[in-house]
Symmetry: C2
Subunit: 160 residues, 2 copies
């Protein structure tokens, strides 16, 4: 089987968007995707693109994607955040995920970033074991904190 990894283009975004929806279903939150396909295209291919992607193709069909963007560590310097790495449910086990992952890490290496970072659900043992084998470190003593759009509005109004 001929798997090709390449940079994602504007016309790939419908396939990328479908993969995002598929991941939300896998993570048991199918209704959490408020983003539209139009938003995704605008945010990734407008004047100030907010992310880059790599896509995995089999026979010109997109079966996987990795989406990432720059971050910054005040201890180390410029870094990359891998936001999503998704492979079609029926294309698992073909090492497509590993190929996309390797492409992102190699991209970071070429750019000279000081760190690559991402998040993993603590019940996703196969993923955690894979990351560890590749030399990544799991920081289980850090919790993620999020303020939603609704909570932001409520808090800002409470300040006035």
């Amino acid at each position: 089987m001929n798997i090709r990894i390449r940079a994602g283009k504007k016309e790939d975004m419908p396939s990328v968007y479908r993969l995002i929806q598929e991941l939300a279903e896998f993570e048991k939150e199918p209704d959490a995707v408020e983003l539209t396909l139009e938003n995704l295209v605008e945010d990734g291919f407008g004047k100030a693109p907010l992310f880059k992607t790599f896509v995995a193709e089999i026979d010109k069909n997109i079966v996987g994607m990795a989406l990432f963007y720059p971050r910054y560590s005040t201890w180390k310097g410029p870094s990359i955040h891998l936001e999503d790495l998704i492979v079609n449910q029926d294309k698992r086990g073909l090492k497509i995920g590993s190929l996309l992952y390797a492409e992102v890490i190699a991209y970071g290496y070429k750019k000279g970033v000081k760190r690559i970072e991402w998040a993993v659900l603590d019940w996703n043992t196969p993923a955690i074991e894979f990351y560890k084998r590749t030399g990544a470190t799991i920081l289980s003593d850090w919790n993620t904190v999020q303020m939603s759009e609704k909570a932001i509005k409520k808090y800002v109004e409470s300040l006035e």
Copy 2:
């Protein structure tokens, strides 16, 4: 006491850098700061700035800072990551941290971001309680994964 919050400028970076070092000491990792002051200035005020800051001043002395940058959620859209929020050890208890925090959230609101995100150490109960009171959610089932510069090099070399 007259506390003033304003956007950080290039000439504030020596004070911001001192605060970064102070936080590393508080987190029991004084040697973890590999970044130099020159790196910080270049990364924040070069052609493609990687972050913005707010600083807190008392009588023209910088006693606190918040450092943040854009991120992206494939579920919600554009977001902000608050990387550091630091107040001088001897200026704690004056609500300076709350003022900086409010400034960042208000900035995100003005920009129309869909989420503001940051990380907290799971033993930092006072911070966690403060965040919850302001409407933030703690996601304790997500672990942070990091690949260091050294590990990136080793992994990429193993692919060849």
